[in-house]
């Protein structure tokens, strides 16, 4: 008896094999419900941080602290500038303690850090969605030379060591708005990943019957693209963008950690972590708080994106 050779799966542009059948409707429902619970937790965390970022001025007015006010009274100069009191200087005045050396309020800095982190990540996500969708759909729909040109361009962009190049670009720039620059530089190296997925999906959509029918009835390219193809891509795009956000938040933190992202006095989580690494043994709270924020936001977006993928893209295909 001969064993059949295992055939290599045609894995490439993301064409998964047959859809998996659920064990039973009941199991499927339970499965989805479990997914949704995680997604709800994730959405709750995202909501919390978005609210905190939006209400930063209000909340800091209530706490009576500012992110850049130096409070020398809260630190102990005889202990190398460590915060006075336990747990990193938590007090009725400084709710989450203060930074060593400068005594700036951590609560206020975390809130304004959330603003920056979310602003940068959301704007970059919007930008890469826009660029990625437009270029991906154009390449996939028109094919031929346009496709070849765009695809090669994507290949080149993906051959850059992105983190290294982002750092190089960011360190070159002087006297520019750091936030705008960060958004631009991060988007520059992230859009090809979405464009590639959109292109692949468009390729498979453009020969569907309803697209052929629309073309046969004389519908223009623009109407076909926006009326027939784009609506079928929304699910995929939403999933990929949601899953791209944690990456963008992490990248912003990494760049600020390395000192080329957001510059002081504007607070950012990555920058706080970078300062706190020196104190992780003597003032663990200062290190744990921004790390925890970063962890929660990244976790929340991954949970939501994951659940969305299951809901919108049941085959679980990946790029």
């Amino acid at each position: 008896m001969t064993t059949p050779l295992p055939t290599a799966p045609a894995e490439g542009a993301g064409a998964p094999a047959a859809a998996e059948a659920p064990a039973s409707p009941w199991a499927l429902a339970l499965h989805r419900l479990r997914r949704r619970k995680a997604a709800l937790v994730g959405a709750g965390i995202i909501g919390f941080f978005v609210l905190a970022a939006l209400l930063a001025p209000v909340l800091t007015a209530i706490s009576g602290t500012r992110p850049d006010t130096v409070d020398k009274k809260a630190i102990d100069p005889y202990l190398g500038g460590l915060p006075r009191g336990s747990l990193g200087g938590i007090s009725s005045h400084h709710w989450l303690g203060v930074e060593p050396l400068l005594g700036r309020d951590i609560f206020a800095r975390l809130l304004y850090g959330a603003q920056i982190s979310l602003l940068v990540a959301f704007s970059a996500a919007l930008l890469i969605t826009l660029i990625g969708t437009v270029l991906g759909i154009t390449a996939g729909y028109f094919g031929g030379r346009i496709d070849a040109l765009i695809s090669r361009f994507m290949d080149v962009m993906m051959s850059f060591p992105s983190l290294i190049f982002m750092i190089a670009l960011l360190s070159v720039a002087r006297d520019v708005n750091r936030v705008v620059l960060l958004i631009g530089v991060m988007s520059l190296f992230s859009w090809p990943y979405i464009a590639r997925v959109v292109r692949g999906q468009t390729l498979s959509l453009r020969h569907r019957e309803y697209v052929e029918a629309a073309r046969a009835s004389g519908t223009g390219n623009a109407r076909i693209l926006f009326g027939e193809i784009l609506p079928n891509l929304t699910g995929t795009i939403v999933v990929y963008v949601t899953l791209a956000v944690p990456g963008l938040i992490g990248t912003e933190a990494a760049l600020s950690f390395l000192g080329v992202g957001i510059r002081p006095p504007t607070p950012s989580w990555g920058q706080m972590i970078s300062d706190a690494v020196l104190y992780y043994k003597v003032d663990p709270m200062f290190f744990i708080l921004p790390s925890a924020c970063l962890f929660l936001v990244v976790l929340a977006f991954t949970l939501v994106g994951d659940a969305l993928r299951d809901a919108l893209d049941p085959k679980g295909s990946r790029a």
């Binding site: 290599a8 998964p16 094999a17 051959s159 290294i164 070159v172 790390s291 970063l294 962890f295």
Partner: protein, 329 residues
């Protein structure tokens, strides 16, 4: 296959040239004066001018670029007369800071980065593929759920946090391991492992989750294939069905991703190296950045692109070898 290989090599060379040109353009736009950097403090205007001549910085951008690219392959002589220095193949210029050849600096750091990348990759493959396969085979059970939620949680941990917690618990509190520093494998294999194990774990935890989810999806897909059913119907033992018919094709996409990730990592894990103060290429880059040491920054950028482009090529070639259809696209 030969035609395909040549086409791919040409495309690779073109990509590297573009990356090189863009990198060059970016650094040319740097506001700081490389000549003044190279000359150091308390340098007279005439001396800076001399250095500028010597480094060829007075030439137009395109000429400088040509010299740079030619230098990489053919080496070049920097400066003239008594100041002439022969920089042999592959010439990436000299560091402004240490006046050492950039190539030598990078080769000095490369073993650290390679050790870090390979060790971490081995670890995350073991963890990720293991968890993914178990999850897929126990699909829908509590084991699957725990593993999948757990991997999301672990992947979300900021790398700074993982590194510092590991350092604190293992080195400071328990005192089991020394504070990581790089020891060459040839010098002391045990020391190599004990010193690098914490950085490996840090990097592996970051990546294992993605591999676990990918392996899980891939194995689930493959196990639903008709040939797996056929294998079962023939009465093969389940071990053989899973091992031979299920896993082998399922792990192809994992190998692809591994190739790409390794390519990105070989030229240095910037943050991990910084956190553990490991003298790898990433650390070299970070240090050069602080001192605006342009030749080193450029060299590292190019080396990193080279690794990425090469690993993409290797992955594609392996694919074309396995699946002839891939040669056409």
């Amino acid at each position: 296959m030969i035609g395909y290989l040549l086409r791919r090599l040409a495309a690779m060379a073109a990509t590297l040239l573009i990356v090189c040109a863009l990198t060059f353009a970016v650094f040319y736009l740097l506001p700081s004066d490389p000549a003044a950097q190279f000359c150091g403090k308390d340098c007279s205007t005439e001396r800076i001018e001399l250095v500028r001549q010597q480094l060829g910085l007075a030439d137009p951008l395109i000429v400088q670029f040509w010299h740079y690219v030619r230098g990489i392959f053919a080496g070049q002589t920097l400066g003239t007369g008594q100041y002439a220095v022969q920089c042999g193949f592959p010439c990436f210029g000299y560091s402004f800071q240490s006046a050492q050849p950039v190539w030598a600096l990078m080769m000095d750091r490369l073993p650290t980065s390679i050790s870090l990348a390979l060790g971490a990759a081995t670890l995350w493959l073991l963890l990720g593929v293991g968890a993914g396969v178990i999850s897929a085979l126990r699909r829908g059970t509590w084991i699957d759920r725990t593993l999948m939620i757990g991997t999301i949680g672990i992947a979300a941990l900021p790398v700074y946090f993982t590194a510092m917690i590991l350092l604190y618990l293992v080195v400071t509190v328990a005192g089991i391991l020394p504070y990581p520093r790089y020891i060459a494998f040839g010098e002391n294999p045990v020391g190599w492992i004990t010193n690098l194990i914490l950085p490996w774990i840090t990097l592996a935890l970051l990546n294992a989750a993605i591999y676990a989810r990918m392996t899980r999806n891939s194995v689930i897909e493959t196990m639903a294939e008709p040939y797996v059913r056929t294998a079962r119907a023939k009465g093969l033992p389940e071990r053989r069905v899973v091992g031979k018919h299920g896993l082998r094709p399922a792990l192809t996409p994992v190998a692809t991703m591994l190739g790409m990730d390794l390519g990105g990592l070989l030229a240095g894990a910037l943050i991990t190296e910084s956190l553990f103060s490991l003298p790898g290429i990433g650390k070299l880059f970070a240090d050069s950045l602080n001192k605006s040491d342009q030749p080193v920054i450029m060299g590292v950028t190019l080396l990193a692109s080279f690794f990425i482009v090469t690993s993409n090529l290797v992955v594609d070639l392996v694919y074309a070898w396995i699946d002839p259809r891939a040669r056409l696209s």
